[in-house]
Symmetry: C2
Subunit: 177 residues, 2 copies
Amino acid sequence: MDIKTLCLGSLTLGEASGYEIKKLFEEGPFAYFYHASYGSIYPALGELLKNELITMREEAQDGRPDKKVYAITPKGQEVLSQKLKKVPAPDKIRSESMLMIFLADNIDARQLEDVFDGYLASYREKLACVSEPSDQEIEPHCQFAVGFGQALYSAAITYMEENKNLLLEPSQQKAAQ
Amino acid sequence: MDIKTLCLGSLTLGEASGYEIKKLFEEGPFAYFYHASYGSIYPALGELLKNELITMREEAQDGRPDKKVYAITPKGQEVLSQKLKKVPAPDKIRSESMLMIFLADNIDARQLEDVFDGYLASYREKLACVSEPSDQEIEPHCQFAVGFGQALYSAAITYMEENKNLLLEPSQQKAAQ
DNA sequence: ACCGGCATGTAACGGGTTACATGATTTT
DNA sequence: AAAATCATGTAACCCGTTACATGCCGGT
Protein backbone atom coordinates (compact mmCIF):
# COMPACT_ATOMS: atom_id res chain seq x y z
CA MET A 1 0.00 0.00 0.00
CA ASP A 2 1.84 3.02 -1.25
CA ILE A 3 1.15 6.71 -1.66
CA LYS A 4 -0.49 6.15 -5.01
CA THR A 5 -3.15 4.07 -3.33
CA LEU A 6 -3.47 6.71 -0.65
CA CYS A 7 -4.07 9.41 -3.26
CA LEU A 8 -6.50 7.25 -5.17
CA GLY A 9 -8.36 6.54 -1.98
CA SER A 10 -8.48 10.16 -0.95
CA LEU A 11 -10.04 11.05 -4.25
CA THR A 12 -12.95 8.69 -3.63
CA LEU A 13 -14.02 11.19 -0.99
CA GLY A 14 -14.20 13.89 -3.64
CA GLU A 15 -11.99 15.92 -5.92
CA ALA A 16 -8.89 17.40 -4.42
CA SER A 17 -5.55 18.96 -5.20
CA GLY A 18 -2.23 17.56 -4.10
CA TYR A 19 -1.99 20.28 -1.53
CA GLU A 20 -5.35 19.34 -0.08
CA ILE A 21 -4.51 15.66 0.07
CA LYS A 22 -1.38 16.46 1.98
CA LYS A 23 -3.28 18.60 4.47
CA LEU A 24 -5.78 15.82 4.98
CA PHE A 25 -3.08 13.51 6.29
CA GLU A 26 -0.92 16.12 7.92
CA GLU A 27 -3.34 18.27 9.83
CA GLY A 28 -6.79 16.86 9.35
CA PRO A 29 -8.56 14.38 11.59
CA PHE A 30 -6.90 11.54 9.71
CA ALA A 31 -3.36 12.50 10.43
CA TYR A 32 -3.02 9.80 13.03
CA PHE A 33 -3.04 6.78 10.78
CA TYR A 34 -1.13 7.81 7.71
CA HIS A 35 0.87 10.63 6.28
CA ALA A 36 2.82 11.65 3.28
CA SER A 37 4.89 14.58 2.11
CA TYR A 38 4.70 16.61 -1.06
CA GLY A 39 7.72 14.84 -2.38
CA SER A 40 5.71 11.66 -2.61
CA ILE A 41 2.23 12.98 -3.31
CA TYR A 42 2.95 15.10 -6.38
CA PRO A 43 4.87 12.42 -8.24
CA ALA A 44 2.19 9.88 -7.29
CA LEU A 45 -0.53 12.08 -8.77
CA GLY A 46 1.56 12.53 -11.88
CA GLU A 47 1.79 8.81 -12.42
CA LEU A 48 -1.85 8.19 -11.70
CA LEU A 49 -2.74 10.82 -14.27
CA LYS A 50 -0.42 9.25 -16.81
CA ASN A 51 -2.14 5.91 -16.28
CA GLU A 52 -5.55 7.54 -16.58
CA LEU A 53 -6.60 6.48 -13.14
CA ILE A 54 -7.38 10.09 -12.36
CA THR A 55 -8.21 13.23 -14.32
CA MET A 56 -6.91 16.74 -13.81
CA ARG A 57 -8.52 20.12 -14.23
CA GLU A 58 -6.76 23.39 -13.61
CA GLU A 59 -8.72 25.76 -11.47
CA ALA A 60 -8.00 29.46 -11.23
CA GLN A 61 -8.56 31.01 -7.85
CA ASP A 62 -8.68 34.65 -6.95
CA GLY A 63 -6.09 35.79 -4.52
CA ARG A 64 -4.38 32.42 -4.62
CA PRO A 65 -2.30 30.40 -7.04
CA ASP A 66 -4.07 28.15 -9.49
CA LYS A 67 -4.60 24.64 -8.34
CA LYS A 68 -4.83 21.33 -10.07
CA VAL A 69 -7.92 19.51 -9.05
CA TYR A 70 -7.81 15.76 -9.47
CA ALA A 71 -10.70 13.33 -9.70
CA ILE A 72 -10.77 9.56 -9.83
CA THR A 73 -11.86 7.77 -13.00
CA PRO A 74 -13.83 4.50 -13.24
CA LYS A 75 -10.59 2.79 -14.17
CA GLY A 76 -9.01 4.27 -11.05
CA GLN A 77 -11.89 3.01 -8.94
CA GLU A 78 -11.29 -0.46 -10.28
CA VAL A 79 -7.59 -0.39 -9.61
CA LEU A 80 -8.22 0.91 -6.11
CA SER A 81 -10.73 -1.83 -5.33
CA GLN A 82 -8.21 -4.35 -6.52
CA LYS A 83 -5.43 -2.91 -4.39
CA LEU A 84 -7.65 -2.89 -1.33
CA LYS A 85 -8.38 -6.60 -1.68
CA LYS A 86 -5.28 -7.79 0.13
CA VAL A 87 -4.98 -8.11 3.88
CA PRO A 88 -3.65 -4.94 5.45
CA ALA A 89 -0.09 -4.96 6.74
CA PRO A 90 0.36 -4.58 10.49
CA ASP A 91 0.65 -1.03 11.78
CA LYS A 92 4.02 0.60 11.64
CA ILE A 93 4.74 3.14 14.29
CA ARG A 94 7.84 5.12 14.92
CA SER A 95 7.78 7.30 17.97
CA GLU A 96 11.05 8.96 18.82
CA SER A 97 9.46 10.56 21.85
CA MET A 98 8.51 7.22 23.37
CA LEU A 99 11.91 5.83 22.49
CA MET A 100 13.52 8.67 24.37
CA ILE A 101 11.28 8.11 27.36
CA PHE A 102 12.17 4.46 27.16
CA LEU A 103 15.83 5.38 27.16
CA ALA A 104 15.36 8.01 29.84
CA ASP A 105 18.41 6.81 31.76
CA ASN A 106 20.58 8.29 29.07
CA ILE A 107 19.24 11.81 29.12
CA ASP A 108 19.11 14.41 31.83
CA ALA A 109 15.99 15.14 33.83
CA ARG A 110 15.60 18.57 32.36
CA GLN A 111 15.42 17.35 28.80
CA LEU A 112 13.24 14.41 29.75
CA GLU A 113 10.66 16.82 31.08
CA ASP A 114 10.83 18.81 27.84
CA VAL A 115 10.28 15.68 25.83
CA PHE A 116 7.39 14.68 28.03
CA ASP A 117 5.74 18.08 27.90
CA GLY A 118 6.22 18.34 24.18
CA TYR A 119 4.74 14.93 23.61
CA LEU A 120 1.76 15.66 25.81
CA ALA A 121 1.23 18.99 24.08
CA SER A 122 1.33 17.31 20.68
CA TYR A 123 -1.41 14.91 21.77
CA ARG A 124 -3.54 17.76 23.07
CA GLU A 125 -3.19 19.52 19.74
CA LYS A 126 -4.10 16.42 17.82
CA LEU A 127 -7.11 15.84 20.01
CA ALA A 128 -8.28 19.41 19.52
CA CYS A 129 -7.84 19.05 15.78
CA VAL A 130 -9.72 15.78 15.61
CA SER A 131 -12.47 17.08 17.86
CA GLU A 132 -13.39 20.25 16.07
CA PRO A 133 -16.77 19.82 14.47
CA SER A 134 -16.60 19.38 10.73
CA ASP A 135 -18.71 21.48 8.42
CA GLN A 136 -19.35 18.55 6.16
CA GLU A 137 -21.63 15.67 6.85
CA ILE A 138 -19.61 12.67 7.87
CA GLU A 139 -20.17 9.16 6.74
CA PRO A 140 -20.41 6.53 9.47
CA HIS A 141 -17.10 4.88 8.74
CA CYS A 142 -15.31 8.24 8.71
CA GLN A 143 -16.99 8.96 11.99
CA PHE A 144 -15.60 5.68 13.21
CA ALA A 145 -12.11 6.69 12.18
CA VAL A 146 -12.40 10.11 13.77
CA GLY A 147 -13.77 8.64 16.99
CA PHE A 148 -10.98 6.12 17.06
CA GLY A 149 -8.44 8.89 16.91
CA GLN A 150 -10.22 10.76 19.67
CA ALA A 151 -10.33 7.69 21.87
CA LEU A 152 -6.63 7.02 21.41
CA TYR A 153 -5.56 10.60 21.99
CA SER A 154 -7.75 10.97 25.04
CA ALA A 155 -6.36 7.78 26.53
CA ALA A 156 -2.81 8.93 25.87
CA ILE A 157 -3.39 12.32 27.45
CA THR A 158 -5.10 10.90 30.50
CA TYR A 159 -2.38 8.34 30.99
CA MET A 160 0.39 10.88 30.68
CA GLU A 161 -1.26 13.28 33.08
CA GLU A 162 -1.80 10.60 35.67
CA ASN A 163 1.60 8.99 35.41
CA LYS A 164 3.93 11.89 34.93
CA ASN A 165 5.33 11.14 38.37
CA LEU A 166 6.51 7.69 37.25
CA LEU A 167 8.83 9.40 34.87
CA LEU A 168 9.83 12.65 36.44
CA GLU A 169 9.77 12.24 40.21
CA PRO A 170 13.32 12.49 41.51
CA SER A 171 12.40 10.20 44.39
CA GLN A 172 11.71 7.11 42.37
CA GLN A 173 9.22 5.49 44.65
CA LYS A 174 8.12 2.13 43.41
CA ALA A 175 4.75 0.59 43.96
CA ALA A 176 4.91 -2.31 46.37
CA GLN A 177 4.46 -5.53 44.50
CA MET B 1 17.11 8.76 14.81
CA ASP B 2 18.05 5.63 12.98
CA ILE B 3 18.38 1.97 13.75
CA LYS B 4 21.93 2.43 14.99
CA THR B 5 20.65 4.66 17.75
CA LEU B 6 17.94 2.15 18.47
CA CYS B 7 20.49 -0.64 18.85
CA LEU B 8 22.76 1.50 20.96
CA GLY B 9 19.85 2.43 23.17
CA SER B 10 18.71 -1.16 23.53
CA LEU B 11 22.13 -2.14 24.73
CA THR B 12 21.95 0.35 27.59
CA LEU B 13 19.36 -2.00 29.06
CA GLY B 14 21.90 -4.82 29.05
CA GLU B 15 23.83 -7.00 26.66
CA ALA B 16 21.92 -8.53 23.81
CA SER B 17 22.26 -10.23 20.46
CA GLY B 18 20.81 -8.87 17.25
CA TYR B 19 18.13 -11.47 17.42
CA GLU B 20 17.15 -10.40 20.90
CA ILE B 21 17.02 -6.72 19.95
CA LYS B 22 14.70 -7.52 17.11
CA LYS B 23 12.39 -9.51 19.38
CA LEU B 24 12.28 -6.63 21.83
CA PHE B 25 10.74 -4.37 19.23
CA GLU B 26 8.76 -6.97 17.40
CA GLU B 27 7.10 -8.99 20.12
CA GLY B 28 8.04 -7.47 23.42
CA PRO B 29 6.15 -4.85 25.38
CA PHE B 30 7.90 -2.14 23.39
CA ALA B 31 6.68 -3.23 20.01
CA TYR B 32 4.18 -0.42 19.83
CA PHE B 33 6.52 2.51 19.44
CA TYR B 34 9.29 1.31 17.21
CA HIS B 35 10.39 -1.61 15.17
CA ALA B 36 13.07 -2.81 12.89
CA SER B 37 13.89 -5.82 10.79
CA TYR B 38 17.01 -8.00 10.69
CA GLY B 39 18.03 -6.38 7.47
CA SER B 40 18.59 -3.14 9.33
CA ILE B 41 19.67 -4.39 12.74
CA TYR B 42 22.54 -6.66 11.75
CA PRO B 43 24.25 -4.10 9.52
CA ALA B 44 23.73 -1.47 12.20
CA LEU B 45 25.42 -3.65 14.80
CA GLY B 46 28.25 -4.29 12.38
CA GLU B 47 28.91 -0.62 11.95
CA LEU B 48 28.64 0.15 15.63
CA LEU B 49 31.18 -2.56 16.29
CA LYS B 50 33.50 -1.18 13.65
CA ASN B 51 33.32 2.23 15.30
CA GLU B 52 33.95 0.68 18.70
CA LEU B 53 30.70 1.92 20.10
CA ILE B 54 29.88 -1.62 21.10
CA THR B 55 31.82 -4.81 21.82
CA MET B 56 31.02 -8.32 20.70
CA ARG B 57 31.49 -11.67 22.36
CA GLU B 58 30.54 -14.98 20.83
CA GLU B 59 28.56 -17.18 23.11
CA ALA B 60 28.12 -20.89 22.54
CA GLN B 61 24.79 -22.33 23.55
CA ASP B 62 23.78 -25.95 23.85
CA GLY B 63 21.01 -27.02 21.56
CA ARG B 64 21.05 -23.71 19.76
CA PRO B 65 23.24 -21.81 17.37
CA ASP B 66 25.96 -19.63 18.78
CA LYS B 67 25.01 -16.07 19.32
CA LYS B 68 26.88 -12.82 19.24
CA VAL B 69 26.32 -10.85 22.38
CA TYR B 70 26.86 -7.14 22.07
CA ALA B 71 27.53 -4.64 24.82
CA ILE B 72 27.80 -0.88 24.74
CA THR B 73 31.16 0.81 25.39
CA PRO B 74 31.75 4.12 27.19
CA LYS B 75 32.35 5.70 23.81
CA GLY B 76 29.05 4.29 22.67
CA GLN B 77 27.32 5.75 25.70
CA GLU B 78 28.70 9.14 24.84
CA VAL B 79 27.60 8.97 21.24
CA LEU B 80 24.15 7.84 22.33
CA SER B 81 23.78 10.68 24.81
CA GLN B 82 24.75 13.07 22.07
CA LYS B 83 22.26 11.64 19.62
CA LEU B 84 19.49 11.82 22.19
CA LYS B 85 20.06 15.53 22.73
CA LYS B 86 17.96 16.69 19.81
CA VAL B 87 14.22 17.16 19.93
CA PRO B 88 12.39 14.02 18.94
CA ALA B 89 10.68 13.98 15.55
CA PRO B 90 6.90 13.73 15.56
CA ASP B 91 5.43 10.25 15.57
CA LYS B 92 5.09 8.50 12.28
CA ILE B 93 2.28 6.04 11.99
CA ARG B 94 1.18 3.98 9.07
CA SER B 95 -1.91 1.92 9.59
CA GLU B 96 -3.19 0.16 6.53
CA SER B 97 -6.06 -1.24 8.53
CA MET B 98 -7.34 2.18 9.50
CA LEU B 99 -6.83 3.40 5.97
CA MET B 100 -8.99 0.56 4.71
CA ILE B 101 -11.66 1.35 7.25
CA PHE B 102 -11.46 4.95 6.20
CA LEU B 103 -11.94 3.89 2.60
CA ALA B 104 -14.63 1.40 3.50
CA ASP B 105 -16.86 2.53 0.64
CA ASN B 106 -14.50 0.88 -1.75
CA ILE B 107 -14.49 -2.59 -0.26
CA ASP B 108 -17.27 -5.07 0.30
CA ALA B 109 -18.92 -5.58 3.67
CA ARG B 110 -17.52 -9.06 4.03
CA GLN B 111 -13.91 -7.97 3.74
CA LEU B 112 -14.50 -4.92 5.88
CA GLU B 113 -15.60 -7.15 8.70
CA ASP B 114 -12.49 -9.29 8.23
CA VAL B 115 -10.30 -6.21 8.42
CA PHE B 116 -12.10 -5.01 11.50
CA ASP B 117 -11.90 -8.35 13.27
CA GLY B 118 -8.28 -8.80 12.36
CA TYR B 119 -7.41 -5.36 13.61
CA LEU B 120 -9.26 -5.87 16.88
CA ALA B 121 -7.61 -9.24 17.34
CA SER B 122 -4.19 -7.72 16.77
CA TYR B 123 -4.85 -5.16 19.50
CA ARG B 124 -5.99 -7.89 21.90
CA GLU B 125 -2.82 -9.79 21.21
CA LYS B 126 -0.68 -6.75 21.77
CA LEU B 127 -2.47 -5.95 25.00
CA ALA B 128 -1.96 -9.50 26.25
CA CYS B 129 1.69 -9.32 25.33
CA VAL B 130 2.22 -5.99 27.04
CA SER B 131 0.28 -7.07 30.12
CA GLU B 132 2.01 -10.29 30.92
CA PRO B 133 4.03 -9.79 34.09
CA SER B 134 7.73 -9.53 33.46
CA ASP B 135 10.18 -11.68 35.36
CA GLN B 136 12.59 -8.80 35.61
CA GLU B 137 12.32 -5.80 37.83
CA ILE B 138 11.18 -2.84 35.80
CA GLU B 139 12.50 0.64 36.11
CA PRO B 140 9.93 3.40 36.53
CA HIS B 141 10.31 4.87 33.09
CA CYS B 142 10.01 1.46 31.46
CA GLN B 143 6.93 0.96 33.56
CA PHE B 144 5.68 4.23 32.17
CA ALA B 145 6.24 3.03 28.62
CA VAL B 146 4.56 -0.31 29.25
CA GLY B 147 1.61 1.37 30.94
CA PHE B 148 1.30 3.78 28.06
CA GLY B 149 1.03 0.90 25.65
CA GLN B 150 -1.56 -0.78 27.83
CA ALA B 151 -3.61 2.39 28.06
CA LEU B 152 -3.58 2.89 24.31
CA TYR B 153 -4.40 -0.70 23.46
CA SER B 154 -7.20 -0.83 26.01
CA ALA B 155 -8.71 2.34 24.66
CA ALA B 156 -8.52 1.04 21.11
CA ILE B 157 -10.15 -2.27 22.03
CA THR B 158 -12.93 -0.63 24.02
CA TYR B 159 -13.64 1.84 21.26
CA MET B 160 -13.76 -0.83 18.60
CA GLU B 161 -16.03 -3.06 20.61
CA GLU B 162 -18.43 -0.23 21.35
CA ASN B 163 -18.52 1.23 17.86
CA LYS B 164 -18.44 -1.78 15.63
CA ASN B 165 -21.97 -0.94 14.60
CA LEU B 166 -20.91 2.40 13.14
CA LEU B 167 -18.89 0.50 10.64
CA LEU B 168 -20.70 -2.72 9.99
CA GLU B 169 -24.42 -2.13 10.47
CA PRO B 170 -26.12 -2.44 7.09
CA SER B 171 -28.77 0.01 8.26
CA GLN B 172 -26.54 3.02 8.55
CA GLN B 173 -28.47 4.88 11.17
CA LYS B 174 -27.03 8.25 11.89
CA ALA B 175 -27.16 10.08 15.14
CA ALA B 176 -29.47 13.05 14.99
CA GLN B 177 -27.45 16.20 14.88
C1' DA C 1 9.21 44.91 4.69
C1' DC C 2 8.63 40.44 6.10
C1' DC C 3 6.47 36.30 7.25
C1' DG C 4 3.12 32.79 6.75
C1' DG C 5 -0.07 30.35 3.92
C1' DC C 6 -1.31 28.72 -0.64
C1' DA C 7 0.38 26.04 -4.46
C1' DT C 8 3.40 22.89 -7.36
C1' DG C 9 7.14 20.60 -8.34
C1' DT C 10 12.18 18.05 -8.65
C1' DA C 11 16.37 15.58 -7.52
C1' DA C 12 19.45 13.51 -4.66
C1' DC C 13 20.02 10.86 -1.07
C1' DG C 14 19.32 7.54 2.29
C1' DG C 15 17.24 4.33 4.89
C1' DG C 16 14.97 0.28 5.56
C1' DT C 17 12.32 -3.64 3.85
C1' DT C 18 11.96 -7.83 1.26
C1' DA C 19 13.70 -11.66 -0.21
C1' DC C 20 17.23 -14.75 -0.41
C1' DA C 21 20.81 -17.86 1.71
C1' DT C 22 22.16 -21.13 5.47
C1' DG C 23 21.79 -24.32 9.14
C1' DA C 24 20.98 -26.66 13.68
C1' DT C 25 17.50 -28.20 16.89
C1' DT C 26 13.13 -28.88 18.93
C1' DT C 27 8.33 -29.49 18.57
C1' DT C 28 4.26 -31.32 16.23
C1' DA D 1 8.53 -35.56 8.01
C1' DA D 2 7.42 -30.99 8.36
C1' DA D 3 7.18 -26.81 10.64
C1' DA D 4 8.64 -23.61 13.97
C1' DT D 5 12.30 -21.40 16.65
C1' DC D 6 16.84 -19.88 17.20
C1' DA D 7 20.43 -17.41 14.83
C1' DT D 8 23.12 -14.54 11.41
C1' DG D 9 23.76 -12.30 7.44
C1' DT D 10 23.61 -9.99 2.34
C1' DA D 11 22.04 -7.40 -1.62
C1' DA D 12 18.93 -5.42 -4.55
C1' DC D 13 15.47 -2.59 -4.72
C1' DC D 14 12.14 0.86 -3.83
C1' DC D 15 9.89 4.14 -1.57
C1' DG D 16 9.71 8.28 0.60
C1' DT D 17 11.85 12.15 2.95
C1' DT D 18 14.59 16.28 2.85
C1' DA D 19 15.97 20.06 0.78
C1' DC D 20 15.82 22.98 -2.84
C1' DA D 21 13.37 25.99 -6.30
C1' DT D 22 9.64 29.32 -7.42
C1' DG D 23 6.06 32.63 -6.90
C1' DC D 24 1.79 35.15 -5.53
C1' DC D 25 -1.10 37.12 -2.07
C1' DG D 26 -2.66 38.78 2.49
C1' DG D 27 -1.83 40.20 6.95
C1' DT D 28 1.17 42.57 10.58
